[in-house]
C-alpha cells in the first residue's frame, strides 16, 4: 500500500524526513551565502583566492621571533603572528600551571590563613573579565614603571622599564651539540625510568630513579661545555643615550610590555580555573585510598606521590586540557593591546590592507581550530596513557 510506505508509522520514513529537511535547509543557506559572496566580490572587483599570500606585506611588526620586515610576504607575516600566538600561549600555560597547582594545593592546606588567601585569589581573579585584567596590567600597572634611564635594575644584568623588560641575550657557540646532548639526556632518562620500573615490579627493588634522572639531565649537557666546545656567553643590555632626553638600552633581548601584560593576565586568570581543577582532583581521591596507603606503611610523601597524585591526575587532566585550550584562544585578546599575534597582524592589519575578508578570516579561524584540535589530541593521548588499565 502506497500510504503505508510514507506514513508516519514507517520508522525509516519517519527518520528520513527531519534529516532531509535539516540538510536541505543547511545547503540552501550555504548556497545563498555563497552566491551573495560571489556577487559582492564581483561588484568590488576581487576574486576569491590565496595568491595574495605571496605579495609584499609592506607593514612592520613590532615583535617577531623570525626575521621579518615590510619587504616580506603576507604569508611570512602570518607566520610571525602565529609564532607570537604560540609564544604567549606557551608562556601562559607554563605559569598558569605552576600558579594553579600551588593555589589549588594551598586551598586544601590545613593552614587556615593559607587556605583563605588561596580561596580569595581564586574568587577575585576568576570573577573579573580577562580583558579588563589585560587592560589593567598594560595600561595601569606597567605604565607606572620608570623610564629607561631610571629602570629598575636587577644586579645591572636586566632592567625593567616602561618600554619593556631588557634581559641578557644568550650567545651560544655549537648550540646544536648542546641541543643534541639534552635530547640524549632525555632518552637516557626514559631508559633509566623503565629499568627502575622493571626492577621494582620484578624484584621489589627501589631505585632512586628521580635523583639519577636529575643528575643525568644536568651532567650530560654539562659535559658538552667542557669537552665538546659548547660555550655560552651573555650579551647584557647597556643604557645608551639617543638624544638629550631619550634613552634606550642596547644589546640583550627586549621583552615588550604587551607580552608581559598578556602573559601575566592570561596565566593569573587561567590559574584560578586550574586551581579549582587541582582541588577537585585531590578531593576526588577517596579517603579510603589514603588510609589504605598509610596502613601499609607508606609515609606522607609516598602517599602523595604513589597513591593520591596518580589518581588525582586522572580527574585533573581533562578539564585542565580545556583550560589550556581556553588560554590559547584567549591569547587572541592580544589584539586589544596591540601585541602582534595572529589576530592583530593577520585579521587586523593584513585584512585592512588587502580587503580579503573571507580568505583571511577563514585562515585565522582554521588556524585556531587546528591549534585547538592538536592540543586536545595530545591531551587525549596523555589521558589515555594515564587512565586506569583494567586487567
Amino acid at each position: 500500500m502506497i500510504f503505508k510506505k510514507f506514513s508516519i508509522e514507517n520508522k525509516k520514513a519517519r527518520d528520513l524526513i527531519p534529516q532531509a529537511i535539516t540538510v536541505l535547509a543547511l545547503l540552501s543557506i550555504i548556497i545563498y551565502f555563497a552566491t551573495n559572496a560571489q556577487i559582492n566580490m564581483g561588484n568590488r572587483g576581487i576574486s576569491f583566492g590565496f595568491g595574495f599570500l605571496n605579495q609584499e606585506a609592506s607593514f612592520d611588526i613590532t615583535f617577531s621571533m623570525i626575521e621579518y620586515d615590510g619587504s616580506h610576504s603576507y604569508g611570512r607575516a602570518f607566520l610571525v603572528g602565529l609564532l607570537n600566538t604560540i609564544l604567549v600561549s606557551v608562556i601562559g600555560i607554563f605559569f598558569a600551571t605552576i600558579i594553579g597547582v600551588v593555589v589549588g594545593i594551598s586551598r586544601l592546606s590545613d593552614n587556615y590563613l593559607i587556605a583563605k588567601v588561596a580561596e580569595w585569589y581564586v574568587e577575585i581573579f576568576r570573577n573579573i573579565p580577562l580583558i579588563l585584567q589585560i587592560f589593567f596590567w598594560y595600561f595601569a600597572a606597567l605604565r607606572a614603571l620608570p623610564l629607561p634611564e631610571n629602570g629598575i635594575s636587577f644586579n645591572d644584568i636586566s632592567f625593567l622599564t616602561i618600554k619593556g623588560w631588557y634581559v641578557p641575550k644568550f650567545i651560544w657557540t655549537n648550540f646544536n651539540i648542546f641541543l643534541l646532548s639534552v635530547i640524549a639526556a632525555f632518552i637516557a632518562i626514559y631508559f633509566i625510568n623503565s629499568y627502575a620500573t622493571k626492577q621494582r615490579e620484578q624484584f621489589g627493588k627501589q631505585l632512586p630513579a628521580t635523583s639519577i634522572s636529575l643528575a643525568t639531565l644536568i651532567l650530560i649537557p654539562l659535559i658538552t661545555f667542557f669537552f665538546l666546545g659548547v660555550s655560552l656567553t651573555f650579551e647584557y643590555p647597556v643604557l645608551k643615550q639617543l638624544s638629550s632626553t631619550v634613552y634606550t638600552y642596547e644589546g640583550g633581548v627586549s621583552i615588550i610590555p604587551e607580552l608581559i601584560a598578556l602573559a601575566l593576565a592570561l596565566s593569573m586568570y587561567t590559574a584560578t580555573f586550574i586551581a579549582e581543577n587541582v582541588r577537585a582532583g585531590i578531593l576526588g581521591v577517596g579517603k579510603g585510598q589514603k588510609e589504605a596507603a598509610a596502613s601499609i606503611g607508606l609515609n606522607k610523601n609516598q602517599i602523595l606521590k604513589l597513591v593520591v597524585m596518580p589518581q588525582a591526575l586522572r580527574i585533573i587532566i581533562p578539564p585542565t586540557t580545556n583550560q589550556y585550550l581556553n588560554l590559547t584562544k584567549n591569547s587572541s585578546l592580544a589584539a586589544a593591546i596591540a601585541y602582534p599575534d595572529i589576530v592583530l597582524v593577520f585579521a587586523g592589519t593584513a585584512l585592512m590592507q588587502t580587503g580579503r575578508a573571507i580568505e583571511i578570516i577563514s585562515i585565522t579561524m582554521l588556524t585556531y581550530l587546528t591549534l585547538s584540535i592538536s592540543i586536545s589530541m595530545f591531551m587525549n593521548w596523555y589521558n589515555k596513557k594515564m587512565a586506569i588499565k583494567e586487567k
Binding site: Q19, A37, I114, I128, F136, K329, S332
Partner: protein
C-alpha cells in the same frame, strides 16, 4: 626538630605566655612599621632588625605548639595555623604581607584619594582620583545615550527588577504567567523603549548605546537565546539520526574551536559579504547573533554532560509509558539533566557576561570600552588605573553575585538528602 626546649603540657604555664608575647611582639613590630613607619627594633643591626619579627614569631609559635594542651582555644589555634614549623612560617609570612599591604592600599583608595571637584586639577593627592569616575559616571553607565533620554533605560531596568521581584512573591499559578511575560514579551518591549522611534519616543541608534547598561542588554538577550539553542544542539548531538548528529557536532566544534574575538571579527567584516548587496543589519544585532551562537555551543556541551549522566532507565521508563521523543525530553529527561548541570550552566552564563567587553572589536563600547574612551580624553590622561579598578570592581560584584546565586540554586534544587 629538637631545639633546646621542648614545650609540653607540664611546662605550659611558662612557655605559653612567653610564646604568645613573642608572637604579639613580632606582629606589633610589623604593624607599627607598616602603619606609622617606625622601627621598634632600630637599635639592632640593620640586617637583623629586618628579619627579627620573623625569628621572634617563629620561636613564639614553636613555644606555643603544645599538642593536647587541654586549653581549647590554644588547640584550635595550633591546629589551624601552627601545626608544624613550615606552617608557622607560612602563617607569619601571610600575616606580614597582609599587614604590609594594607597601608598603601588604604592610602590609594581612601586616605590620599580625591573625591570632590570636577576636573583633573582637583586631584592633588597621591592616591586615586575618584573625581574621574564621578564626572564620567553617566557615560560609564549609559554610553553616548543622550542625557535627556536616559530615563528610558532606567525605566526599562526598573520595570524588569519590579517584575522579577514580584515574581518571587506571587502564587505558583500566577508565577507561570509572569515568567512567560518576562521571557517572551518584556525583552521586546524593553528594547523598543530603549531604542524608541515610535509612541513619540525619539529614536536612539544602537551605536550610541553603551556603558554598563549595554553589558546588561547584551548579556540578557544572549542568555535568553543561547539557552534554547544550546539545548536543541545538545539533543541534536545525542540524536540517533546521523545527519542531525553530525551537523550538530560540526556546528558545536566549529564554534568551540575558535576564539570569540575572531567570531566578532567575522560578524563585522565577513558576514556583510554573505548578504545581498545593500542589506544592512544593525551592528548590535550582528554582535548579538555572534555571541549567542558562540555561547550556545558551550551551553550545548554542558547540557550534553547532563544528558549523558542520566541513567538509561530514565529513557526506557519514559518510552515504556508511551511517551514520544519530545514529550520524553521535555517532561522526564531535560528537567533532570538540567538540574545536574546547574554549575556548568552558571559558569557558561558567567563566561558570557565576562565576554561582553570584547564587543569593542566592532566598535561598540560597554563599560570597559567607555573607560578606554575616557582615559584617552586629553583632559583626563593618566586615569587608567582608576578606570580599570572601577570597572573591575563592578564586574567582580556582578560575577561574584551570579556565582553565589548559582551555588544557592544548586543547593536548593538538590534532591539528594
Amino acid at each position: 626538630m629538637n631545639l633546646i626546649v621542648k614545650p609540653s603540657k607540664d611546662t605550659i604555664k611558662t612557655y605559653v605566655p612567653i610564646g604568645l608575647s613573642l608572637v604579639s611582639l613580632s606582629i606589633l613590630d610589623v604593624f607599627v612599621n607598616a602603619f606609622f613607619n617606625l622601627n621598634l627594633m632600630a637599635f639592632m643591626p640593620s640586617q637583623l632588625s629586618y628579619f627579627l619579627p620573623l625569628i621572634l614569631g617563629f620561636i613564639g609559635f614553636y613555644l606555643i605548639r603544645i599538642e593536647f594542651s587541654g586549653v581549647r582555644s590554644l588547640d584550635i589555634l595550633n591546629k589551624n595555623i601552627n601545626s608544624n614549623n613550615f606552617n608557622a612560617l607560612l602563617t607569619l609570612f601571610t600575616i606580614f604581607i597582609i599587614i604590609k599591604s594594607i597601608p598603601p592600599m588604604l592610602d590609594w583608595f581612601i586616605l590620599e584619594a580625591n573625591f570632590t571637584g570636577n576636573s583633573k586639577d582637583d586631584c592633588t593627592g597621591d592616591g586615586a582620583c575618584w573625581v574621574f569616575i564621578k564626572v564620567w559616571f553617566n557615560r560609564f553607565m549609559y554610553g553616548l545615550y543622550p542625557d535627556a533620554e536616559q530615563w528610558r533605560i532606567n525605566t526599562a531596568f526598573l520595570i524588569l527588577f519590579l517584575i522579577v521581584g514580584v515574581t518571587f512573591f506571587v502564587s505558583e499559578k500566577l508565577k507561570k504567567y509572569f515568567i512567560l511575560f518576562l521571557v517572551f514579551v518584556f525583552p521586546f518591549l524593553g528594547i523598543k523603549l530603549i531604542s524608541g522611534g515610535s509612541f513619540g519616543l525619539e529614536y536612539v541608534e544602537s551605536a550610541a548605546w553603551g556603558g554598563l547598561s549595554l553589558t546588561f542588554i547584551i548579556s540578557a538577550f544572549a542568555i535568553l537565546f543561547c539557552f534554547p539553542i544550546g539545548v536543541i544542539l545538545a539533543l541534536g548531538r545525542r540524536s540517533s539520526l546521523p545527519a542531525i548528529k553530525y551537523i550538530s557536532i560540526g556546528f558545536i566544534e566549529l564554534w568551540r574551536g575558535v576564539p570569540l574575538i575572531t567570531v566578532l571579527f567575522m560578524s563585522a567584516v565577513m558576514f556583510p559579504m554573505f548578504l545581498p548587496d545593500g542589506t544592512f543589519i544593525d551592528k548590535l544585532i550582528r554582535v548579538l547573533i555572534a555571541i549567542t551562537l558562540f555561547e550556545a555551543a558551550y551551553m550545548a556541551e554542558v547540557v550534553r554532560g547532563g544528558l549523558q549522566a542520566l541513567p538509561k532507565g530514565q529513557y526506557e521508563a519514559a518510552k515504556s509509558l508511551g511517551m514520544g521523543y519530545w514529550r520524553m525530553n521535555a517532561l522526564i529527561i531535560l528537567p533532570q539533566a538540567l538540574k545536574l548541570v546547574i554549575p556548568g550552566i552558571a559558569n557558561t552564563l558567567l563566561a558570557l557576561v565576562k565576554d561582553t567587553p570584547l564587543i569593542f572589536v566592532v566598535g561598540l563600547m560597554e563599560l570597559a570600552g567607555m573607560i578606554g574612551l575616557a582615559k584617552t580624553n586629553p583632559k583626563w590622561l593618566g586615569m587608567a588605573m582608576e578606570g580599570y579598578v572601577f570597572a573591575g570592581l563592578v564586574f567582580w560584584v556582578i560575577c561574584y553575585a551570579m556565582s553565589r546565586y548559582s551555588q544557592n540554586l544548586e543547593k536548593k534544587l538538590s534532591t539528594e538528602r
